[in-house]
Symmetry: C2
Subunit: 200 residues, 2 copies
């Protein structure tokens, strides 16, 4: 069995879980919850960065981060299932994944601001800078919202939007109607999106 270290609220862990479900690989994966804040977590030996998700292979090799893992899962499933092989599609899809992951990262840094710091240490300048990344990223995704294709770009975008729903009360929805339609459509055709909704 493969072992996935993750936690239910992680947008990057969710990306891996949706990929595994979509590729028919969930029966080969044990999910073991990880606490990234615990200094004694064995996760910090498995992934020295102390980050989730991390995938432990049967020979002990540990793969991270989420992008490496989803590509490995795509390979296990035969290849070119959620990452296109042809260059004309592959690199734009990988960039779409990077954009969505960047939105989630900038949202996470805002969450960490209150999780890691006393109020006096919190910086509006920093969180505004991060929110700028979220806002511009959403605007770009809204302009190019794609329907139908299930690939690492659309999976990552769905997970980023799901994270904004979880932590920022879905404020993005009022101003991004095409992304709302994208996410509804994605959820309808990819059942694991609901299966992996926090706190599952």
């Amino acid at each position: 069995m493969l072992v996935l270290r993750s936690s239910p609220a992680s947008p990057f862990g969710r990306k891996v879980k949706i990929a595994a479900h979509h590729l028919g690989l969930m029966d080969r994966i044990d999910i073991v919850a990880a606490d990234t804040a615990d200094p004694n977590e064995v996760l910090r030996q498995q992934n020295p960065l102390g980050k989730i998700p991390a995938l432990i292979l049967e020979d002990g090799t540990v793969l991270y981060d989420s992008r490496v893992i989803v590509e490995y899962l795509d390979h296990l499933a035969g290849g070119a299932k959620i990452i296109p092989a042809d260059a004309a599609t592959r690199y734009p899809v990988l960039a779409a994944q990077a954009l969505a992951d960047g939105i989630a990262d900038a949202a996470l840094l805002q969450v960490y601001e209150s999780r890691w710091r006393d109020p006096a240490q919190q910086s509006v300048k920093w969180t505004t800078h991060q929110q700028g990344k979220v806002d511009r990223g959403l605007a770009a995704a809204e302009a190019h919202a794609f329907h139908g294709a299930v690939h690492v770009g659309s999976i990552a975008l769905a997970c980023a939007l799901g994270y904004l729903d979880l932590r920022f009360e879905g404020a993005w929805r009022a101003t991004h109607p095409r992304l709302v339609a994208f996410l509804d459509d994605f959820a309808a055709r990819v059942p694991s999106f609901e299966l992996t909704r926090f706190p599952s």
Copy 2:
């Protein structure tokens, strides 16, 4: 021509430049300096995340982040030059790149702490947490330091170590002799490492 938006001190921009040199692609790339702190930078339209490096293709497609760009450059050069094709090597090399990038990210977050915040807003808890990622990442790389192979894993590691030299006065060197030997060996066989040293 391809256009690379980057800045001389970026470890991720350096990774792309070394890859481009090593793959013989520098004559196809114009490097245009980018200021990530400037709200009016066109970079924020090219990459909504406002991050460097970003590579603008001739048809206007913009690729980011550095991992997507180095894979694209490898493809342009014929493929499997700096990212192995066979799975047994490919995924560990990609994870090695993720580890090195994670070291650089955790170092960058410490640099941002003083760049973005007044002293009263700076958190020792946060910077200690980031330094823990750097320390564990370096220990893991020291244990597995590899010589000889030039691939995205070793290129990324060299750039992360170069960034620690630039911003943290090379404090890592005293306690990581195998990484010192790795970097000396890498610099000797990959001339673009010196060519891309800040402030070049």
